[in-house]
């Protein structure tokens, strides 16, 4: 390999190194910000779905957090809240939910999803999520099956996914407590 090639190679390597260094330098601050943001979102969501609670106590199995026990200022148990991934019509739907001690839903929030805009994406709208408030576990069904929840027209699959996700989690918590 002659000298010219060496120069070429050197230039390539130098550029790569500089690029990587710059990226590393940007990565650190953005990562910090991202962590903060995610934590904020989580906390906000937990409060959103469980307004009575003052702070939350995670229930773990090994490393993994299964759900949170919601405690008021006096450390009395006022309910539970959780995050759950459920497969929707396109991709995973991440749902945040809260239930009171009678296992009635106190609120839900869709954290992320990839449903079709205009169809399944309507699960994030209040018109859909507010239906859940105060609904008992036994009534968590589509209204056409005599439940309490009206499906979004054209997006039954997504609606059912949300319902199923919450159902599953409530059963899990029930079993655990």
């Amino acid at each position: 390999m002659d000298k010219e090639m060496g120069v070429v190679l050197l230039k390539l390597v130098v550029l790569s190194v500089v690029a990587a260094a710059v990226l590393g330098a940007v990565y650190i601050p953005t990562q910090v910000q991202l962590k903060i943001y995610q934590q904020e979102q989580k906390e906000l969501a937990l409060v959103d779905v469980m307004p009575l609670a003052d702070h939350f106590d995670p229930v773990r199995s090994g490393e993994e957090i299964l759900y949170y026990r919601a405690l008021d200022a006096d450390n009395n148990l006022v309910g539970y809240s959780f995050f759950h991934d459920q497969s929707g019509s396109q991709d995973m739907i991440t749902i945040a939910g809260g239930i009171d001690t009678e296992y009635k839903v106190s609120g839900i929030k869709i954290m992320s999803h990839a449903e079709t805009p205009g169809l399944g994406a309507k699960i994030t709208e209040l018109a859909f999520t507010d239906q859940f408030i105060g609904v008992a576990q036994s009534d968590l069904m589509l209204s056409k099956n005599d439940g309490a929840i009206d499906a979004i027209t054209g997006a039954t699959v997504s609606s059912v996914a949300v319902i199923d996700g919450i159902q599953a989690k409530i059963l899990e918590i029930k079993a655990n407590e």
């Binding site: 690029a19 990587a20 497969s87 929707g88 995973m92 699959v157």
Partner: protein, 195 residues
Amino acid sequence: MEDVSLFAIAINGIFVKNFLLVQFLGLCSFLGVSKETKSAVGMSAAVMFVMILASTAAFLIYEFLLKPFGLTFLTTISFIIIIAALVQLVEFIIRKFSPPLYRSLGIFLPLITTNCAILGVVILNVRLEYGFIESVFYGFTAGVGYTMVMLLMSSIREKCTVLRIPEAVQGIPHAFFITTLLSMAFVNFFGVIPT
């Protein structure tokens, strides 16, 4: 990572989340090269080949270099360098050892470096947390899906040479209209297998 059967990956890669018609990946070359079946086949073969190679190489890099060091933010840059190098290498080799193949495939290779579908498939592999087999298989089925649409499209466009297409629509707009309808034909695969 969820357990995903290879069958589900195949159906997903070919029909449900077809790269061209549903995920919008690789459109530039799709529109450019689908005028004739011959070049469509060449391009598809090249894409499929590079997709499989890239999936393999990218998996190895990601799993054994980036992940252990916590350098996942370098995914894009390392993948794209790998792809560019692979494409270049394949081009060199084909040109040297099989001039006929180079003549039919070679002209498409430079197009592939800048084809979103290739980078898309390796990034999706990472995002979907596929294992080695799944990654390579997804690369393969995405290529199959690409090839299928490419074949349909090129047959349609060849037939179009004898049709009376309005002057203003001829060329790319017409290709888009065909793609619209192809995409509509794929719509009912939605939800066949939820991911």
